[in-house]
Subunit: 198 residues, 2 copies
DNA sequence: AGCTCCATGTAAGTCGTTACATGATTCA
DNA sequence: TGAATCATGTAACGACTTACATGGAGCT
């Protein structure tokens, strides 16, 4: 593929699982090329071909590295979700704000869940562009496994969103319990600085 | 707190929810100071006090910004978990490797779950240093809410790990189904490069 | 005297984002 | 001829990591 094509996929389905801007994709491709993991072929563009494009393909070394990387254990993800940091300090706001906060959390993950569900549907129907390209290059008897792994990954992401939704719902119940008999718009803590250490 | 103290907490309980090295903490504190969100007091160290340390405290502007930030909706986290990228391409390895891969995933999250569970326990018993400091600075009637929010956040992280564990288990079942009647150590796909685009 | 802990930084580099910049091709 | 799309980059900056660097304090 060309960098441009890759960038297009990163704007669509690939973004569900990893994100990258075109600026990063182009520089990264050049880096992979310098490392010998991909090779580029300069192709003419259009009829009169005053312009060109660069189509990349894996080298044998690149394919080997891909196999190695995939089967190697995944390093623990960084765990940097501001949502959980904020949730830890919701007492800085009013009950009303906490309620709004959990509702926003729920909405966000509901939308994400719906996107993933549509995508799993597409994968099961083998209806996505990328999957078709992938299957076209692999021997027939492997097709079921290829689809099954991808479906399993996205179903996992769906479960994640459901966990977030359930957590937000329990958060709303918690706020209801805490706010019983209180003025909803009163901050739990006044916005003053804590005492400096002495 | 001093940067050193902060760094110590970041090596312990805070690391469960956010990570930072001392090098980042010191530079960030200087930045917050320049922005007027914190103030530093230079304190003597030890008896003869040839050395000093810098203890930081929130300014009113810093407290205000903290309140604002916490109650503002959390931006969607980047979604960059290599595990799910790898899971999408497990056909590049053998069934045996896939099985090992899911087992490693499960082990990782089991260990994490146990850590979180111990921490929730500590929080409920109000036995952690940071929580005690926190409660000491807040009026009594707010204590329950402060603890409840933190416990809720960590319980959410526990649910997350359980989702990952269940996903890994279903992954193992999937590999069992796929590998029926196959040689376990055969790669699903040979480690060759796909055909370059034509 | 030597070890561990306390305490604070800087430098170089990676990964990623946002914004800036350019030009050809295609189609209405 | 003008707009959308194809196509590829660079520059500046922000967040974070790893490694380098220094020195006092407290204890045995």
């Amino acid at each position: 593929m060309t960098g441009y094509e890759l960038a297009k996929y990163f704007d669509r389905s690939v973004a569900f699982i990893w994100q990258a801007r075109h600026s990063q994709i182009y520089t990264e491709l050049r880096r992979l090329e310098a490392e010998g993991l991909v090779v580029a072929e300069t192709l003419p563009r259009g009829e009169k071909a005053l312009a060109t494009k660069r189509a990349y393909a894996l080298t044998p070394a690149g394919a080997e590295e891909l196999h190695r990387w995939v089967t190697e254990a995944a390093p623990p993800p960084p765990l940097r979700d501001t949502a959980y940091v904020k949730a830890t300090y919701l007492e800085y706001g009013s009950y009303q704000q906490a309620r709004r906060w959990f509702r926003a959390h729920r909405s966000h993950y509901e939308a994400l869940r719906d996107q993933y569900e549509r995508h799993v549907d597409d994968l099961e129907r083998r209806a996505t562009d990328l999957l078709r390209r992938r299957l076209a290059q692999a021997p027939d008897p492997t097709h079921d496994a290829i689809v099954a792994y991808k479906v399993h990954a996205y179903r996992g992401l769906i479960e994640r969103t459901k966990t977030e939704i359930a957590w937000a719902d329990r958060g709303l119940e918690l706020v209801n319990r805490l706010s019983e008999g209180h003025d909803l718009s009163d901050p739990v803590l006044p916005p003053s600085a804590p005492h400096p250490p002495t």
